[in-house]
Symmetry: C2
Subunit: 183 residues, 2 copies
């Protein structure tokens, strides 16, 4: 995955940054890049070189959750019809997002950078798989891709804490209906 092997100290720093970031996320709801760098005992330059954007760092921090999310897709597809699987997967995303908003940023960053690179990547693939299954069953419209879905789901990031309960799930249904094939 990483063609140019990392130098020993570099790998070390990287690990320490991620750990510090994890602590920061767990400790408070603030997440200041500066603070993470200091906590990790590295300069800001170092932090920014390893993770060019805040999202890149979050993506690493939440990699576990994201992988879980990715892994869930095939399982859901095995158990349910495509639309239900998609719905469940959305549910799961919302569950994560509710507690740790960071996952959202991670997912979004993930899919985005994957889009430009070749072959999307795990998250994009997961969504694509769900979409494809639905399409094959004639339940999902044929003119949407993973990026579209992420874009649409983006509303989650600008939901206020207080309106989360009333709107998050609800709008999920609306989006889902939009993705359905029109008969």
């Amino acid at each position: 995955m990483n063609a140019p092997r990392l130098r020993a100290d570099a790998a070390d720093n990287r690990a320490r940054i991620v750990e510090a970031a994890r602590d920061a996320v767990a400790g408070s709801d603030e997440f200041k890049l500066n603070a993470v760098a200091k906590r990790a005992g590295v300069g800001q330059g170092t932090l920014y070189r390893h993770f060019p954007t805040r999202e890149a760092l979050l993506a690493e921090v939440y990699r576990f959750d994201v992988e879980e999310l990715v892994a869930a897709a095939p399982a859901l597809l095995a158990e349910h019809d495509p639309i239900t699987a998609l719905a469940r997967w959305f549910d799961r995303l919302v569950d994560y997002a509710r507690v740790k908003r960071g996952v959202l940023a991670a997912v979004e960053a993930g899919v985005w950078q994957e889009l430009s690179a070749h072959g999307l990547g795990p998250i994009g693939d997961a969504i694509t798989a769900l979409l494809d299954a639905g399409r094959a069953a004639g339940a999902v419209r044929s003119d949407v891709d993973a990026r579209d879905v992420v874009l649409l789901l983006g509303y989650l990031t600008r939901l206020d804490e207080q309106e989360w309960d009333t709107r998050a799930r609800h709008l999920l249904h609306v989006v889902l209906d939009g993705l359905r094939a029109r008969e």
Copy 2:
């Protein structure tokens, strides 16, 4: 609308700020609050007191466009069936948004602040009118409100310039389908 009448100099400054902002928007694609304040010949404090957020300022700058948008709703409803009217209105929004991204921020800010206040306000009302008409005709699902629509349309703000053509309109259809009543 503004109970405590503005002092003469205050009103003057406010006007000068808006004008400077308009210039700034027209002149370049950068929009720095600092610069606007300087250009208007006022301190930043003054700018921020008149317009607490960047969006508030944009809302004022684009008020004309926004009003036009609002005015279009009833006209569209008169000429077309509700769903078509809604679609056309969306189209119009996208047209504005393409050129002047600011309108989007203005719309979003507008609807949001209106939501908390009583009776939504012009933009919210316009969307609500479209929604209501659709609902009455049984063409629009009954469980969505103006805020929902704005939230969903929010994807427009994070669209990259280059993907605008391929995705903006296209996703509009998806959203529209999501808003339709399921028969």
